[in-house]
């Protein structure tokens, strides 16, 4: 990937936002997951190996920030990046609304993988939080995707 340094810088920025800003943005007890939104947004731009790699990195960062078992986060984010890139709608660019839907589905998928690998103590609460988080992440993804596309110098018809 020719954008390696830019991607690393953006992942770092997302990690810092996740640590410092996300707790201040909690809505109904759920905070946005900037790194997951980034994973899905990147998966709509980069090919499968690159998206899986970014998912791996975002999972590693998220797990380290939380101080949790890294395997669960790494696995769920890597799979989300890979599958997200595989299923991206077409070679054409996405609109903000399409990005919202993609991130909602992506968040459900990532949380489902997480649920299967590390079942939380209260599944009902986890699922409720997942629904709120999916919508919240979707809303955040719309401006983030537009910014990412601008940062990486893409127009609506280009893909890497």
């Amino acid at each position: 990937m020719k954008h390696t340094w830019l991607v690393l810088a953006l992942v770092w920025l997302l990690g810092v936002l996740d640590f410092g800003v996300a707790p201040h943005m909690a809505l109904l007890g759920v905070r946005p997951d900037f790194l997951l939104v980034g994973t899905i947004a990147f998966s709509q731009i980069f090919p499968r190996p690159g998206s899986a790699g970014i998912g791996f990195l975002c999972g590693l960062v998220r797990g380290a920030i939380v101080g949790a078992n890294l395997t669960h986060y790494v696995l769920s984010r890597t799979l989300t990046g890979f599958i997200g890139s595989w299923f991206r709608s077409s070679q054409r660019g996405q609109s903000a609304l399409q990005m919202f839907i993609t991130v909602v589905i992506g968040t459900f998928f990532a949380h489902l993988v997480f649920l299967m690998t590390a079942a939380p103590s209260n599944v009902a609460t986890f699922l409720t939080d997942t629904i709120i988080a999916a919508i919240y992440n979707g809303v955040i993804a719309m401006p983030m995707y537009v910014l990412l596309s601008k940062f990486l110098g893409l127009n609506s018809r280009q893909r890497l």
Binding site: G20, G67, S121
Partner: protein, 246 residues
């Protein structure tokens, strides 16, 4: 590797190396946002905040008087225990700390103090309402706390302050539900009874820290078990300032 490191009260190497570049600028951003939002609130709620400051000042005075009395009583208690050749049960010092990261799904919070402030794995963490959790992993300038709402295998020795106090082990079930399993089927427990730490489990937790109140009792006669559901006194999502008991 990760589990082994955690059992030793430390983070594994990968977590330590990966989290550092994010936690330091993240904390700076968190602090900036905190002070920004407080200043913004001050613009709108100046009069209310000055009343709050006055009220807090008088509460501080009352608290310092209470602390003084407590210190005298503790000194007397220590003296009497010494005369009876009993070991001291004083809880040590309290180190103030701030929660810098809260992960509700993992039932874990990160505090802004660590081994440089003499924090050790197993130290209890409390706030004004009661027990928040137990320190699990310690680094130089931060530590991670396993919340009292954590599910099994995390357990804390607890005691129900009923007519005849009953002891058992308590563990989390959800963010607002703890379960205390009792073997004594005849234990008389009723709704509203206070639950505190027993101080008899093999840990650094002293006796008498408030955990919560009994909200229901479920008897499973076929298993010879009585499950007591406890509502925690500490609202984890609202806790910001805490104390680590060393």
């Amino acid at each position: 590797m990760q589990n082994r490191a955690r059992l030793n009260g430390q983070h594994d190497l990968i977590t330590t190396v990966v989290s550092k570049p994010f936690s330091i600028p993240g904390q700076v951003m968190d602090r900036a946002l905190n002070s920004g939002s407080q200043s913004f609130q001050g613009l709108w709620r100046g009069a209310e905040q000055s009343r709050t400051i006055e009220r807090l000042r008088s509460e501080v005075k009352a608290a310092s008087l209470y602390t003084e009395t407590m210190r005298d009583l503790r000194a007397q208690n220590d003296l009497l225990r010494k005369q009876l050749n009993l070991p001291s049960d004083s809880e040590g010092s309290r180190m103030p700390a701030r929660i810098i990261y809260h992960s509700p799904l993992e039932n874990r919070v990160t505090l802004n103090i660590g081994s440089s402030s003499n924090v050790k794995p197993g130290c209890p963490v409390v706030n004004g309402d009661g027990l928040v959790g137990i320190v699990q992993v310690v680094e130089k300038s931060e530590c991670q706390v396993q919340l009292i709402t954590s599910p099994l295998p995390f357990k804390v020795g607890a005691m129900i302050m009923s007519e005849i106090p009953v002891v058992g082990l308590i563990h989390g079930q959800s963010s607002d539900r703890l379960v205390l399993d009792l073997v004594d089927m005849n234990a008389k427990v009723k709704d509203g009874d206070l639950v505190v730490t027993s101080g008899i489990a093999k840990s650094l937790i002293p006796r008498g820290i408030v955990i919560g109140r009994v909200v229901s009792v479920d008897t499973k006669e076929q298993f010879g078990l009585k499950s007591v559901v406890v509502f925690p006194e500490v609202q984890m999502s609202q806790a910001r300032e805490v104390f680590v008991l060393r």
